[in-house]
């Protein structure tokens, strides 16, 4: 009775939370529960979702054994982690560098123009960017090959040459995100008290010394928090980057396959639902552990900045 009375008293708030709650159940909790297909030999049956789940036989860890016995598991994990490490490290260096340089430029108007331009790629989809890239890398019409031949070089069949792609993908990943990240750091630098710099000037500190001894130390908390949080996502690849930009070129799979593209291909073409779900669960579980770990570390530094 007391329970009912409490519910009734909170009816307005419960009503406000209702749509979101239904969404969370349908699009989060049921799919999470659906991960048990990773332990089943899943087949669709006529009776809908729950019946399919019930009727598919349990296979224990067979799907995982199958996944990890192939070379794929190693390859896609390696690619996912290495690309993400590159994005985190290089992305951080570039974003902080740009933010510091921007904060020291003289013309406020130029700063604004630079920032707006640098934000542009952040707002575009990878589909659009894949067209941009194609304009440069198209083997017969692209600008890169025109330039190469102009200087007497050989044309390169970009979409068939593995060796260039780690660089291309890393450059694009950073190019798209660095503007946004540098704006965050820029806002933080603008918040640093000018007194520090004035005092440093009086003491005769050079620009470089000011940056090294004032700006960077003041940025350290934000840098560490954002980096640690992105380490938590090291198992999640940006599907669009790896799926759209290489244009599904078979010759590039070895350097462009990541967990997300592997799972997508498994779901849509190979049709082995169980093993694909196993790969997805592997990604989610490791990802979850990393997020919790990263959050734990952030908490140690600064409780305010932790996610939970």
């Amino acid at each position: 009775m007391a329970m009912l009375r409490n519910l009734w008293r909170n009816k307005a708030f419960l009503f406000m939370a209702l749509p979101g709650t239904i969404w969370l159940i349908l699009f989060f909790y049921i799919p999470v529960f659906g991960n048990i297909v990773a332990f089943k030999n899943f087949h669709y049956s006529s009776g809908g979702f729950f019946q399919s789940l019930r009727e598919s036989p349990w296979v224990g860890l067979d799907n995982f054994k199958f996944l990890f016995s192939s070379n794929n598991a190693y390859l896609i994990t390696r690619n996912t982690v290495l690309y993400n490490v590159a994005f985190i490290v290089l992305g951080l260096i570039f974003a902080v560098f740009l933010a510091i340089v921007l904060s020291e430029l003289r013309s406020k108007r130029m700063i604004k123009i630079y920032q707006t331009s640098m934000l542009f790629p952040y707002f575009l989809s990878w589909v659009i960017i894949s067209y941009f890239v194609f304009a440069f890398l198209s083997p017969d019409k692209g600008l890169m090959n025109s330039i190469l031949t102009l200087f007497g070089g050989e044309e390169i069949n970009w979409y068939n040459e593995q060796k260039y792609w780690p660089f291309i993908l890393i450059i694009l990943g950073i190019w798209k995100g660095v503007g946004y990240n540098s704006v965050i750091y820029f806002a933080s630098i603008m918040g640093i008290n000018s007194d520090y710099y004035e005092a440093a000037m009086v003491d005769g500190a050079s620009k470089w010394q000011q940056i090294k001894n004032i700006t960077i130390p003041q940025l350290i908390p934000l840098i560490s928090i954002l980096s640690i949080l992105s380490v938590g996502n090291i198992f999640r690849a940006d599907f669009g980057l790896f799926y759209q930009i290489p244009r599904n070129s078979g010759a590039l799979y070895e350097v462009t396959s990541v967990l997300d593209t592997y799972i997508y291909n498994g779901l849509t073409s190979t049709g082995d639902i169980g093993m694909t779900a196993a790969a997805g669960l592997y990604q989610s579980v490791v990802g979850c552990i990393l997020v919790v770990l990263a959050n734990f570390i952030v908490r140690k530094f600064d409780e305010e900045s932790a996610l939970f």
């Binding site: 909170n10 307005a12 708030f13 009503f15 406000m16 939370a17 749509p19 979101g20 969404w23 349908l26 699009f27 989060f28 999470v32 529960f33 659906g34 669709y44 809908g48 979702f49 729950f50 399919s52 740009l98 340089v101 904060s103 020291e104 430029l105 003289r106 013309s107 331009s117 934000l119 542009f120 575009l124 589909v127 659009i128 067209y131 304009a135 440069f136 017969d140 019409k141 692209g142 600008l143 025109s146 704006v183 000037m201 934000l222 928090i225 759209q244 244009r247 599904n248 070129s249 997300d260 498994g266 779901l267 639902i273 997805g280 990604q283 990802g287 979850c288 997020v291 900045s305 996610l307």
Partner: protein, 313 residues
């Protein structure tokens, strides 16, 4: 502004003191450097615009050139051949963006407001209920099975809207925003005046929360406008294809053709008909232009999105 003269004096002073700026030479050097990078961010789009205005013969002989030997607006006039599909796709994209953003903002902000209220008895439960989504992702495969098999949403417009109808991260952002920006005293006094909780939320809190709402709306709208992933997974009918996915399909048809040169004949007709080079780039321009023209005016909201939420300023 009352302090007008003072204001200008102050501004001048800062520029003269130069506490935090490079000296002249270094300034030029870094302006060039940052300027080049900033240019590299918009250059590909300019290049694609140039290609879209290049004549087909010029493209065939010279490829994509920075300064084409022959200009042409044919890329855009050829768009007329694809008129039906393009208009349909544009309609789907706009529809999904508008309806989706509205639903997303309504769901997200009402949920966030409920858990931001100290007098909501179950706020802790509902906060954790939403926060858990940030720890674990359900994965593509189970989500796909639930969407298609249980909810039967495959090949419906809802498959483009519902998967993105709530953003758990934005719930947390808005919860913080409501707590910090909406004074408790206002809510309290309206309650004393006899306003219902629902009325307080819609008529008093929401108008005060416009900056926060604007931020999450823009993120939602951008997400819907740029989405191709849900279409890739769930959409089969040509009349439900959004712009981004249309571009993607044209692209993959071309890739298929170049990889299987002899089979091109099989692909003619319908959506598979491949528009000419300049026309494709014209489509890229058309789907990018709305973003390119509007984001400079909204960018401060995108940036403030990070500072109003949990992330430290």
């Amino acid at each position: 502004m009352k302090g007008g003269p003072n204001y200008t004096v102050k501004k001048k002073k800062i520029e003269h003191v130069q506490v935090r700026t490079f000296n002249k030479k270094t300034n030029i050097f870094f302006n060039i450097m940052v300027g080049l990078f900033a240019f590299s961010c918009i250059f590909p789009f300019l290049f694609v615009i140039i290609i879209s205005f290049t004549s087909e013969t010029s493209l065939l002989t010279n490829g994509y050139a920075l300064w084409p030997s022959e200009w042409s607006i044919q890329g855009y006039t050829y768009l007329a051949d694809l008129k039906d599909q393009i208009i349909q796709s544009l309609f789907i994209t706009v529809f999904v963006t508008v309806i989706g953003t509205f639903i997303n903002v309504a769901f997200t902000s009402s949920y966030a407001y409920a858990i931001s209220r100290p007098n909501f008895r179950y706020k802790r439960f509902f906060t954790i209920f939403a926060l858990i989504t940030m720890l674990f992702s359900p994965g593509m495969v189970p989500s796909y099975i639930v969407m298609t098999n249980m909810l039967q949403l495959k090949d419906t417009v809802w498959a483009l809207i519902l998967p993105m109808a709530l953003s758990p991260f934005n719930i947390i952002v808005m919860r913080t925003f409501f707590r910090r920006q909406v004074p408790e005293s206002i809510i309290e006094s309206s309650r004393i005046d006899g306003a219902s909780e629902m009325r307080i939320f819609t008529q008093i809190v929401l108008p005060l929360a416009v900056p926060g709402i604007a931020t999450i709306s823009l993120f939602a709208a951008l997400g819907y406008w740029n989405d191709w992933f849900n279409a890739l997974l769930y959409i089969q009918s040509d009349n439900l294809v959004p712009l981004q996915y249309l571009l993607m399909k044209i692209q993959s048809n071309i890739d298929f053709m170049t990889q299987n040169a002899g089979l091109s004949g099989n692909l003619s007709g319908g959506l598979a008909a491949i528009p000419k080079e300049a026309t494709r780039m014209a489509m890229v321009v058309i789907s990018t232009l709305p973003i390119a023209c509007s984001y400079p005016f909204f960018q401060r909201y995108f940036v403030s999105g990070l500072t109003i939420g949990g992330v430290k300023e």
